[in-house]
């Protein structure tokens, strides 16, 4: 099923939880709503589910406005962060509950519960109460309950955040696989960019109720539309340094406190006029910096081995820059390192608006 959010806004008093959000989610697509806590992602999800009425704008399912429909009339499955199982019912009755409300016969109910329980490998747990299940098992039961009614749309509200790290990684792959196999349109809310990157077909990044950028994980990583997305996607986050963009003899130049170099003109949207110094934020990802050669110098401040890589913090005067380098690179604290920023990997943002100044096409 296709889901369309049309200029959706939700205010709580003066607080704009969701502000003019437009988003088109294709049939069978897996979309993540990503953002820090308080960004409006859960409000958006609850509005799609029908718990909140939009202050303005609409939610459309397959092109039909559903704002007037109650949650139970929308045929959605939902998994909550707390799983929200019914404590007084065992796993079987929990999963069968939506079917029971639909008035399905007992034999049919049990058949369908069996099927979904097999899919999620919880056949042996069906007679246990939620209190007798581990977190991971509870989550599977909650997922089974959401899937058993064969919903048109699956909504997941931070379903992985209560699992331990190892289980979370395993469930990430499993959920992704399950979603592709079942082909149910899925909206997934998370504050964890790695979860969003690994699982979603497309990610919608939200901040302060506003949509920052929508795109595939790769697009968001390679072409962040603004400093918020640049800082939110990728670990460790992108280095952002204050700099000037100037045009000298028709060639754009980036001028920072401790370095400066020419840039290819074709990557930059509306260049400043000759003689104008435009304040910008210069961005480069830690993994894109080349260490070992180049004109730029930095003093090694901290070295953090991460196993496969090593995270090096360099000081250029007062400015701090992080570099992710292969682990075989041996550097001592206090050493002066040579580094360079490959022009095709750099990012430029307007210092005031935070918007990207790069063209997306040429790369």
């Amino acid at each position: 099923m296709r889901v369309t959010l049309k200029e959706l806004s939700k205010y709580f008093g003066d607080v704009r939880a969701v502000d003019n959000l437009s988003l088109d989610i294709q049939d069978k697509e897996f979309v993540a709503l990503l953002g820090p806590s308080g960004c409006g992602k859960t409000t958006t999800l609850l509005t799609i589910a029908g718990f909140y009425k939009p202050t303005s704008g609409s939610v459309l399912f397959d092109g039909r406005v559903v704002d007037h429909l109650a949650p139970r009339e929308r045929n959605i499955g939902m998994v909550f962060q707390s799983y929200a199982l019914y404590p007084h019912l065992n796993a079987l009755d929990n999963i069968a509950f939506p079917l029971k409300l639909k008035g399905l016969a007992k034999r049919l109910r049990e058949e369908r519960v069996k099927k979904v329980a097999t899919l999620l490998q919880i056949e042996d747990l069906l007679h246990r109460r939620p209190a007798e299940l581990s977190g991971g098992q509870q989550q599977r039961v909650a997922l089974a309950r959401a899937l058993v009614k064969e919903p048109d749309l699956l909504l997941l509200d931070e379903p992985l955040s209560n699992l331990d790290a190892k289980l979370r990684i395993a469930m990430r792959a499993e959920l992704k696989r399950l979603q592709k196999d079942l082909g149910i349109t899925t909206i997934f809310v998370t504050h964890d960019q790695i979860e969003a990157m690994t699982m979603a077909d497309r990610i919608a990044v939200l901040d302060k109720g506003r949509l920052q950028q929508v795109g595939s994980p790769e697009e968001l990583y390679r072409y962040p539309a603004n400093t918020f997305v640049a800082g939110f996607i990728g670990t460790p986050p992108m280095n952002l340094l204050e700099a000037y963009l100037v045009v000298q003899e028709g060639k754009p130049m980036i001028m920072a406190k401790h370095f400066g170099f020419p840039l290819p003109a074709e990557i930059i949207r509306d260049l400043p006029h000759g003689g104008e110094r435009r304040e910008v934020l210069f961005g480069i990802r830690p993994e894109d910096i080349r260490l070992g050669h180049g004109e730029i110098r930095g003093e090694v401040y901290v070295v953090e081995p991460l196993g496969r890589d090593v995270l090096i913090t360099l000081k250029m005067g007062e400015e701090i820059i992080k570099v992710l380098a292969p682990a075989d690179l041996k550097l001592q604290t206090g050493e002066i390192a040579k580094l360079s920023f490959p022009p095709e990997k750099i990012h430029l943002f307007d210092n005031e608006t935070g918007e990207s100044l790069l063209r997306r096409n040429p790369r």
């Binding site: 609850l46 589910a49 718990f51 109650a70 949650p71 139970r72 959605i76 499955g77 939902m78 909550f80 962060q81 707390s82 799983y83 929200a84 199982l85 019914y86 404590p87 007084h88 509950f97 939506p98 409300l101 639909k102 939620p130 209190a131 299940l133 977190g135 509870q138 909650a142 309950r145 959401a146 009614k149 209560n162």
Partner: protein, 283 residues
């Protein structure tokens, strides 16, 4: 030295018990006196019984005379049970519905209504007696046990609503949302999911409504005719005679006290059955 220190430690440990004994002495004296009276016969100095027996409990098989009329203990006990159970059920049904609404539904005047309940609870029931009298008279429920029970229940509903709301507040929103996604209407959420989860609350609110009606005197005394006796008015009418048989009264009072205790024991399991909500680290 060692024995001295041991003695001090012993005394130190005894202090809380001594204090508790002093504090509870008056109550214990009353209860002991009560039992001595009920089971003792031919008391000396009004306290010490000459022999033990059940002769004070003769009302169990003999009618009780008061003034010119007579009744049996069983009729009075039955009336009291009808009165208290009716009140308990009315209080429970209304408080469970209102408590859910006040806990979960947003509506204009919700906070005002909540504060109003507390204010209403502060109003003594006695000052409403005249109004209640006429109200019951108009609707034709005066002098009937269910009617008076309804009036009595209304006194406990305000605080009962707060109690019920507290229990509903303890259920996570996600459980309610989950039920609504699963296909429940608001009423089905209340009936199928919430009521089973607040069993301790149901028991507590029922006991609340039941107990106050069980112990009530002024409402049944004023609004029921003298011919319909409940336990409290029966005991009062026996006190109002010229010769008071204290042993008899104590035995009757003992019977009066048993049902609420039995109810507590019966509902104890429900009271302690608090559900555990799923999700690690989530309350």
């Amino acid at each position: 030295m060692r024995t001295y220190r041991g003695l001090m430690r012993y005394l130190e440990g005894a202090v809380p018990y001594i204090l508790m004994a002093i504090v509870s002495a008056p109550f214990l004296t009353m209860y002991i006196g009560f039992f001595l009276r009920a089971f003792g016969e031919g008391a000396v100095l009004g306290i010490l019984p000459r022999k033990w027996g059940f002769s004070n409990f003769q009302f169990l098989w003999k009618p009780i005379a008061w003034g010119l009329g007579q009744t049996t203990m069983w009729t009075a006990l039955g009336n009291t049970i009808l009165f208290a159970v009716t009140s308990g059920i009315v209080v429970t049904v209304i408080c469970m519905l209102a408590g859910y609404a006040l806990s979960r539904v947003e509506f204009r005047g919700r906070n005002f209504y909540l504060v109003l309940q507390l204010v209403l609870h502060a109003v003594p029931g006695q000052i409403l007696l005249i109004a209640v009298f006429f109200l019951l008279l108009y609707v034709g429920l005066l002098h009937r046990i269910p009617g008076v029970a309804l009036a009595r229940a209304s006194l406990e509903i305000p605080l009962g609503i707060w109690m019920a709301k507290g229990f509903f507040d303890g259920i996570p929103w996600d459980v309610e949302r989950s039920a609504m996604v699963d296909g429940c209407t608001r009423f089905q959420v209340w009936y199928k999911i919430f009521l089973p989860l607040v069993k301790p609350g149901i028991a507590a609110v029922f006991i609340w409504g039941f107990l106050f009606a069980w112990h009530d005197f002024i409402y049944v005394y004023t609004l029921l005719p003298g011919t319909i006796k409940v336990m409290s008015t029966l005991i009062q009418s026996l006190l109002a005679t010229e010769v008071i048989d204290y042993g008899y009264l104590a035995a009757l009072s003992l019977i009066y006290a048993v049902p609420p205790l039995a109810l507590f024991v019966f509902l104890q399991r429900a009271l302690l059955k608090v559900p555990v909500f799923g999700g690690k680290g989530i309350g």
